[in-house]
Amino acid sequence: MSRIGVFICHCGINIAATVDVERVAEEAGRMPGVAFATHYKYMCSDPGQSLIRQAIAEHGLDGVVVVACSPAMHERTFRQAVAAAGLNPYRCEMANIREQCSWVHQHEREEATAKAVDIVRTMVEKVKRDEELVPLRLPIVRRAMVVGGGIAGMEAALNIADAGYPVVLVEREDRLGGKMARLSSTYLNFEAAPGLLEEKIRQVLEHSNIQVLFNARVTKLEGYVGNFAVTVEMSEGPRTEEVGAVVVATGWDPYPLERLPEYGGGQIPDVVDGLTFEEMLRTGLQRPSDGRVPQEVVFVQCAGSRDPEHGVSYCSKVCCMYVAKQAMMYKERVPGGQAYVFYIDIRSGGKGYDEFVQRAMEEYDVLYLRGKVSKIFRRGDRVVVWGSDTLVGRPLELEADLVVLATAMLPSREALALAQTLHIQADQYGFYSEAHPKLRPVESLTAGVFLAGVGQGPKDIPETVAQAAAAAAKVIQLFAQDAMVQEPTVAYVIEDLCSACGACVAVCPYGAREIHPVRPIATVNPALCQTCGACVVACPNKASRIHNWEPVQVLAMADVVI
């Protein structure tokens, strides 16, 4: 005879206001196989949990039913609690009388109480027949893939490789560096970007643990955390890489100038974007139309950003800072020239960032004008900018030799397709979604796939490097475990009953089943099985089963309530 304990939770008034918990406890106490039944205000609280542990010891319980909320909420909590008292955690189940009873029958106390008793009855029958299971331990492939070889991808790869794990870095272009390769210098100290980058690239290329695949694209991801098989398409044809974790660092693309027709984008040669101006700063500052060195330059911030009507709603985060940098560099090169900056407000949060912008205003006489630009057009060989100065409350017309649009950063144009390939989520713009905005900022919702750099959202180099290091730390943390632990309540096949008909293979939505290559049976990959039960229903021979959801259990559960 089993010795089962039943623990009924009030959930404050969530359950107790509707269900008569005292009566449920009384009824449960009389159920066959139940050795102990009680109720308590909050079972999940520390006193609630210790109440369960004590009862296990005092009454020699061999199974536990916690009658409370959904198992999605607290199954793990209670299984840990009973394990601490020496009971096998898989002999603890939850009977849900909150979501599936008290909340949906708020004005029917009698009926709700009767239903709660029935729910308890079924779970008692299940626990009686629950096997003692042990979590599965799956091997980990200790090799990582990084997709994207910008500063984010290189930084992540170097960190993982330095920890001693091999990395395969997949870059779609024929060179490393991403957008940083187009920058002239970087704020705050005007360090030359090419120098910084060359050093990084050299480290990556020379690292014995890093293999770089150029002109390569990820086209398929199979498997699961710790054991991915990634297909990479290259000019020589596809290849499969076995890795345990993936870091996605595909960066960004500039907002197309053509999408800013009101600013003459794509029509007026002397209207350029920030990246083009970075290149001009490197090559001699000649304006595109006639090669003259511009004497008056107008910078337009938030071009396409923060504009839900025409562009994107978000702030691109780096442009306030790089415009200040570019304006100062311009003034260094052309001391007699004039730089104007139109801005909505200055977003220079960051250590030393606001001081940097102030230097542009005060030491370099860059003229900051608070207002939006409405239109840009040509007049002879000059570019005319219509804007407003909201601090004096007047519309403004400026004639310049060159206009630099600080255009928005868009997610890499392939990001959405890649997100689908990698089974990760992206937001409405195409930036990859993190698993939790505060607490899990570098993980995707797919276990084993991590995020770094602008692909996840606009950010500058220091922030990108920090995020890449964090993603690498997550990979290293994963690789440091000796095995992947997995719930054992998954499907299995009774080989003697299986006729290898394949019905279960066809219905499994997670690709967890296949017919054995040699033997006439179906097999289950427990790492992929999500315990959905489709195969159990599909199997004509009752060969497909799920641990602790055995037919005898389900039938017994049905028997006590019908």
């Binding site: 800013l260 027709p261 009101e262 029509q267 025409h310 239109k375 057009f377 007049r379 005319v384 219509w386």
Partner: protein
């Protein structure tokens, strides 16, 4: 092809020339504009408050009248087009509002009719290449400034006729009739619209700038699709606080330019009572063409 046509109040009174030339060019191109048998004023303003169902009643009545006549209804007046098109869109997106108005008007507007501008028919139904083929008096050498104004194009999300920041539909039309479109920065700047009634100096100031800018860019004539723009751009050129400058240029409807190019008789040009006389210019062009 017969197309139900909503002339609207202005084209029946102050802007008869637009109506006349519009019907004439459409007919010459095989599109007969058939005036709705029974129509009323569209209200001439689209409400800015989202819950202002009152202001939607008049345009919905027009749409109902149009729905009885066919699947689409053409307008020439940019303001009528703006109000009707936005009402069509608004009621498409808010069926509850449509029901509410139907309940009040006791008319069953179903939301099937599509509001189109003649410009749209020319571009999408006829095509610029076909229009160019039908031109008998190409207006070679005539430098025309396309003036779009606001209401024809904005808001794009509800009207969707052309890119409101960089429109080309009038440019394309000007090219199709053999003339040369002149780019000028004010082609989508506001002329002051109804402020001409309340505070004329505002629209005077704005209009002067528009005309001066077109002029400076080398334009000989401005074209528009809106009777209020036409009025605002033209009359300050005659008598205003600024006085005459000698820089006056005529402001025509695009249909009038087409009427000349399609070889229609002068009475179909519909040019009457203008402050700036376009005849010398247009007759010159015609003569130049015919002498070749």
């Amino acid at each position: 092809m017969k197309i139900p046509y909503y002339p609207g109040c202005t084209l029946s009174t102050k802007a008869k020339g637009y109506d006349r030339s519009g019907r004439a060019v459409a007919a010459a191109l095989g599109m007969e504009l058939v005036e709705l048998p029974d129509w009323q004023c569209c209200g001439a303003t689209f409400p800015l408050a989202t819950d202002n169902s009152m202001a939607l009643i008049a345009p919905t009545r027009v749409l109902y009248q149009a729905e009885q006549a066919g699947e689409q209804v053409a307008a020439l007046c940019a303001i009528c087009y703006h109000v009707l098109k936005r009402t069509q869109t608004a009621l498409e997106r808010d069926p509850a509002m449509r029901e509410r108005i139907n309940w009040f008007t006791e008319q069953g507007y179903e939301g099937r009719v599509r509001v189109v501008h003649l410009l749209e028919l020319l571009r999408d139904y006829l095509g610029w290449a076909e229009l160019a083929r039908r031109v008998v008096r190409p207006l070679t050498g005539l430098r025309v400034a396309p003036y779009y104004g606001c209401l024809l194009l904005r808001p794009y999300d509800e009207i969707g006729l052309d890119n409101p920041e960089a429109p080309t539909i009038l440019h394309d039309l000007i090219r199709a009739v053999g003339a040369e479109p002149v780019d000028f920065p004010f082609s989508i700047e506001c002329c002051g619209s109804y402020l001409t009634v309340k505070d004329p100096t505002v629209s005077e100031t704005l209009s002067r700038e528009i005309v001066a800018s077109a002029r400076a860019a080398g334009a000989q004539v401005l074209v528009t699709a809106c009777p209020l723009c036409q009025f605002n751009l033209e009359w300050p050129q005659r008598e205003t606080a600024f006085g005459r400058t000698g820089d006056e240029i005529p402001v025509l409807y695009f249909t009038q330019l087409m009427a000349v190019a399609l070889g229609l008789p002068e009475e179909d040009w519909g040019i009457e009572g203008m402050y700036t006389d376009p005849y010398p210019l247009l007759r010159n062009v015609v003569q130049a063409v015919e002498s070749v």
